[in-house]
């Protein structure tokens, strides 16, 4: 599914990277712990997180995630947004909580990261 589909499923707001909404997303993972993301993340990941500081964007860049969805209406700080623009990482924000946001996407057929 595309990032645009995901935006609609989650009724999300685009914080930056509107021009990347057509990118294809094949799998997702959710965590607030960046070390977990660094451990399980694979290139192409859609990251769902409630961590709104710039480390979320930096972690996404390091693991080559495709986009970030902030849950529970959170939004990154200015440093995070500037970094996302520089690294071409689209950022979206949904009012849904983590469990619900992940559930909606899983239900729509977006799988999680494979264990190995």
């Amino acid at each position: 599914m595309t990032l645009k589909d995901i935006k609609e499923f989650l009724d999300a707001e685009v914080i930056c990277g509107e021009k990347y909404l057509d990118i294809e997303i094949k799998f997702a993972g959710g965590s607030d712990m960046m070390s977990d993301v660094l451990a399980f993340g694979q290139p192409g990941l859609l990251l769902l997180t409630g961590l709104s500081n710039s480390q979320s964007v930096r972690t996404a860049d390091i693991i080559e995630a495709k986009a970030i969805i902030y849950v529970r209406g959170k939004k990154p700080d200015d440093i995070g947004i500037a970094l996302a623009k520089e690294k071409d990482i689209p950022l979206l924000s949904t009012q849904h909580m983590m469990y619900t946001a992940c559930g909606i996407l899983y239900n729509k057929g977006l799988p999680g990261v494979s264990k190995n």
Partner: protein, 146 residues
């Protein structure tokens, strides 16, 4: 940056406690590796290890440094800090063991995954630490694996 046909060497200073800049050096290292055309899977592993190691310095030390050394055979990250040191390295290497503060956890770190993540991504990993003096890490990635 010192660069020649034989390799490249660059030293970066890490400011402890400066969470706003935390990770910038690893981003820079990743960019250097991309510029010189290192294989993408190795860049990814090196970037993850470097970022975890940089975060440890930011979180625990007043200052530290990382030296990036690249030869045709290997990519070498050497980190040194003047932090509190690690009393029990074996324990610190266990996933889930953490001495992190709430502030560190607010940054999304401190889950006790840092050192294990570095080890998992490296081809060779060595750690030495003296309580009260600091910690040093040697992280090596082989560049010509067959």
């Amino acid at each position: 940056m010192v660069s020649s046909d034989l390799g490249l060497s660059e030293r970066f200073e890490i400011s402890g406690g400066d969470f706003s800049k935390a990770g910038t050096i690893s981003t820079k290292i990743k960019e250097i590796l991309q510029e010189i055309g290192i294989e993408s899977s190795i860049i990814r592993r090196a970037a993850i290890a470097s970022y975890e190691a940089e975060m440890n310095v930011v979180m625990y030390a007043n200052s530290g440094s990382v030296i990036l050394n690249i030869t045709p055979e290997k990519l070498h990250l050497q980190l040194e800090d003047n932090g509190p040191g690690i009393e029990d390295i074996e324990k610190a290497m266990q996933e889930g063991f953490s001495t992190a503060t709430d502030k560190m956890r607010e940054m999304g770190f401190g889950a006790g995954m840092g050192l294990p993540n570095i080890k998992r991504n490296a081809d060779r990993f060595e750690i030495s630490s003296t309580p009260g003096e600091g910690t040093s890490l040697d992280i090596v990635f082989c560049l010509n694996k067959t």
